[in-house]
């Protein structure tokens, strides 16, 4: 064991070993089981990167950016009086991510209020070659929202104004620092809702949601941000303000630039304002919490019988329920089952929706697809049922150190990864749980151990990515790449695609000051 450990450390340290294919983990299982979709040359290329996976989620060395000088601080203080923060206590929380898994060493936190201020900050930093880490609510799960070294943190916390809302079209424009929950509350008074909803809603900023193309619980019904965001105002790396803040549903005039920035994780520009299409608030919302032996057929029945009123289809397994009961003292509303599904319907007519829902429930109960369940129409009960799904992340935090994986696969195959990892890891892992947006084919695989365990991590990664890649899945369905997964991009994208991404990055941010060390793999930047 000890010899093996020393060997792997030597392996990562000495770069000349990287081309020895005999040591490459990926090489041992060339995809003979599935169709050979990738050209042989690609496997060779992937081998090279698989080799580096021991160290690839760790940070690369610091790039030769300038360091912040007193003169820089004077400039910031003059530009943002009282909002250029250097107090280490305040900086502490902005330097650490929500999972407390990565920590940066930034000494400057800037809180602009306007797009103009952001523009001047970036223009200055670009000239001075100072790296910048944009930060919204700091709720990201892949280490993309905090600095790696001493990058200046550019926070949208004070850019929280709602600009306009048109209650006929449902189009909302607001600054990037608006908290998602505040926007939801504002819209609810006008009888509308935000098209996305996620567990972090009390803290996340809409700008951050857009720059990470956040998914969430309503994606099944309202689609992704790529469809609901109508326009963006973005400040580019050199300070130029790109105003694409259209509020039009249809606008086919030239290349759709906003799509570049959606999901770019702050590496191509800083989003300063968003215009988004909001759906009407449903008059009738029902939530059903069901227990079953398997989820796939229920999903089919659901789609068929509930059709257009289905607004969410989430699942959690028995291990998740145990964690909720153990750490958060929540009670299981129904009898114990291997799988639990949360179904939400949203529509404009209570009687119509309830009838559909009751027919569906009767059908699945009598056909024994579902073993037990409960339904809620009152807000308080709905919230209680949703918390069974929304608070799993919180419960996991209490269970120890969590290894999080966010995988996209076909609906039938999804849970296989969980059972597979459970077998593979056995006693080495404390808990292996699966939950997620099963309706979107998105699994959140989480593994816990009492504390950070490099041996366990080595058993999980890159195996979990290889498994996903083998079944043509995505290694990051909605969490993005950030710092932690940047080098695994090749498991889901071809080298040509990644090279082109690099070209676009070089064009928009030649000095690479925007959120460096994130999203794109180390060999591209």
């Amino acid at each position: 064991m000890a010899i093996f450990e020393r060997f792997t450390r030597l392996k990562s340290a000495s770069r000349f070993l990287q081309y020895t294919t005999a040591l490459c983990p990926a090489h041992s299982w060339a995809p003979t089981r599935g169709p050979l979709l990738r050209p042989a040359g690609w496997i060779q290329h992937r081998c090279v990167h698989g080799e580096r996976s021991e160290a690839s989620s760790a940070a690369p060395p610091r790039r030769p950016f300038s360091q912040v000088t007193p003169a820089d601080l004077d400039f910031f203080r003059q530009l943002l009086p009282g909002r250029a923060i250097t107090d280490p206590d305040v900086l502490e929380s902005s330097n650490v991510d929500w999972l407390k898994s990565v920590k940066g060493n930034s000494e400057v936190l800037l809180r602009p209020k306007t797009t103009d201020e952001v523009s001047r900050i970036l223009s200055y930093c670009n000239q001075r070659n100072l790296a910048v880490s944009p930060q919204g609510g700091n709720t990201g799960l892949v280490g993309g929202s905090v600095p790696v070294f001493d990058e200046i943190i550019l926070s949208t916390a004070l850019m929280n104004q709602i600009l306009t809302f048109d209650s006929i079209s449902g189009i909302l424009t607001c600054q990037a620092g608006c908290v998602l929950e505040s926007l939801s509350q504002y819209l609810e008074e006008q009888d509308f809702i935000m098209p996305l909803d996620l567990g972090a809603k009390g803290s996340c900023h809409i700008g951050g949601n857009v720059s990470t193309n956040a998914g969430g619980l309503r994606l099944l019904r309202y689609g992704s941000l790529r469809g609901t965001v109508l326009g963006l105002e973005v400040v580019l790396a050199d300070g130029r303000v790109l105003n694409c803040l259209a509020t039009l549903r249809k606008d086919n005039t030239g290349y759709d630039l906003k799509q570049l920035f959606i999901g770019s994780e702050g590496t191509l520009g800083v989003i300063t304002a968003v215009s988004i299409l909001c759906p009407r608030k449903p008059k009738s919302v029902n939530v059903a919490f069901l227990g079953m032996l398997q989820y796939f057929l229920t999903f089919q029945a659901c789609r068929g019988m509930l059709g257009e009123i289905l607004s969410a289809f989430e699942f959690l397994d028995a291990s998740c329920m145990n964690l909720l009961e153990k750490h958060l003292k929540l009670t299981n509303p129904i009898t114990e089952s291997p799988f639990y599904i949360v179904i939400e319907t949203a529509g404009s007519n209570a009687a119509h929706d309830e009838e559909k829902l009751h027919n569906f429930l009767e059908k699945v109960m009598t056909s024994s697809l579902v073993t037990d369940g409960t339904v809620a129409t009152e807000e308080a009960k709905i919230k209680a049922l949703w918390s069974m799904r929304e608070r799993i992340t919180e419960a996991l935090r209490h269970d120890g150190y969590t290894y999080k994986y966010d995988i996209s696969l076909s609906v039938e195959k999804i849970y296989d990864l969980v059972t597979h990892m459970r077998e593979r890891l056995g006693d080495r892992a404390q808990n292996v749980v699966g939950y997620g947006h099963i309706g979107d084919g998105n699994l959140h695989l989480n593994i816990t151990s009492p504390s950070k365990d490099p041996a366990l991590l080595a058993a999980i990664e890159p195996y979990v990515y290889e498994w996903t890649s083998q079944y043509q899945g995505s290694i990051s369905a909605e969490h993005g790449l950030g710092l932690k997964k940047r080098n695994y991009i090749y498991y889901s994208k071809t080298p040509e695609a990644v090279t082109l991404m690099g070209n676009i990055k070089a064009m928009l941010d030649p000095k690479g000051i925007l959120n460096p060390y994130k999203t794109l793999p180390d060999d591209i930047c």
Binding site: K283, F289, L290, T331, P333, I334, T335, H358, L361, E362, M365, V370, D372, G373, T374, V375, A376, T377, E378, E379, A380, K381, K383
Partner: protein, 254 residues
């Protein structure tokens, strides 16, 4: 032992909903607003069902007074385990002016008619906060009452009730038949599970008119005006202690 339990359930505006006052200040907006069972009534139903599960009572009857929509509330009680329901039809102006006095007269009449030996109600409704129906019903029937119950135990032909009072907890023993009103900590109501929801569809709800029970619904109360509570004034943030002292002086506080 108590053969039949009567449980009163009231249909109220869901407690999570933001209440709006009607523009003419005669009441609150109820049209199109989400309604549900009064939370204390849920606790009452849960307690009755638990007594039945312990085989201490034979039948649980859920009662509600109001228009057609209260049948939903009765169905919820049936889904939680009540055996049958009684819908006392009250609508229009009569429903608007329906209050504890009229409801307690109805419940008293029903208790006699159904030969109930225990009535469990919520301690108060979250819309009017009256906290009177249980007490008035007991008085009309001349039955003992155990109000604000946080624990109920059957001891032979008596009930031991632990009541939540300002000074702490009071334990009393009362003879059956009796009226008990449920307080928050009496129990945690169960979720109505699907099999029970399906069964509830087949359970019986009988319709009764207040006239049939010999009850006069005239109200002795007249609502003059309904207003929203005054808006809370925003506070002011100060930067320094001097500012704070200055502002307090300005406001005449020091």
């Amino acid at each position: 032992m108590a053969a039949r339990v009567l449980v009163g359930v009231k249909r109220v505006i869901d407690y999570a909903v933001k209440i709006r006052v009607k523009p003419d200040n005669t009441g609150v907006v109820t049209d199109g607003v989400k309604h549900s069972m009064n939370p204390f009534c849920e606790i009452a139903v849960e307690e009755a069902v638990r007594l039945k599960e312990k085989k201490l009572v034979k039948e649980v009857v859920a009662v509600s007074c109001g228009p057609q929509q209260v049948q939903e509330t009765i169905r919820t009680a049936l889904a939680m385990g009540a055996d049958r329901g009684i819908h006392v039809e009250v609508s229009g102006k009569d429903y608007d002016s329906l209050g504890p006095l009229q409801v307690s007269k109805i419940l008293a009449a029903l208790a006699k008619k159904e030969e109930a030996s225990l009535i469990i109600l919520g301690k108060q409704a979250i819309d009017d906060d009256c906290n009177q129906t249980g007490q008035m019903t007991a008085a009309l029937l001349d039955w003992p009452q155990g109000t604000f119950a946080s624990e109920v135990a059957v001891e032979g032909d008596k009930l031991k009730v632990i009541r939540e009072v300002d000074g702490g907890l009071e334990t009393i023993k009362i003879n059956l038949p009796a009226v008990v009103t449920a307080d928050l900590r009496l129990n945690t109501p169960r979720y109505a599970t699907l099999p029970n929801i399906m069964k509830a569809k087949k359970k019986k709800i009988t319709n009764v008119k207040p006239g049939d029970l010999g009850v006069d619904l005239t109200s002795r109360l007249e609502v003059l005006r309904v207003d929203e509570p005054p808006q809370r004034q925003a506070g002011v943030k100060v930067e320094t202690v001097e500012d704070l002292v200055g502002k307090l002086k300005e406001a005449g506080r020091i």
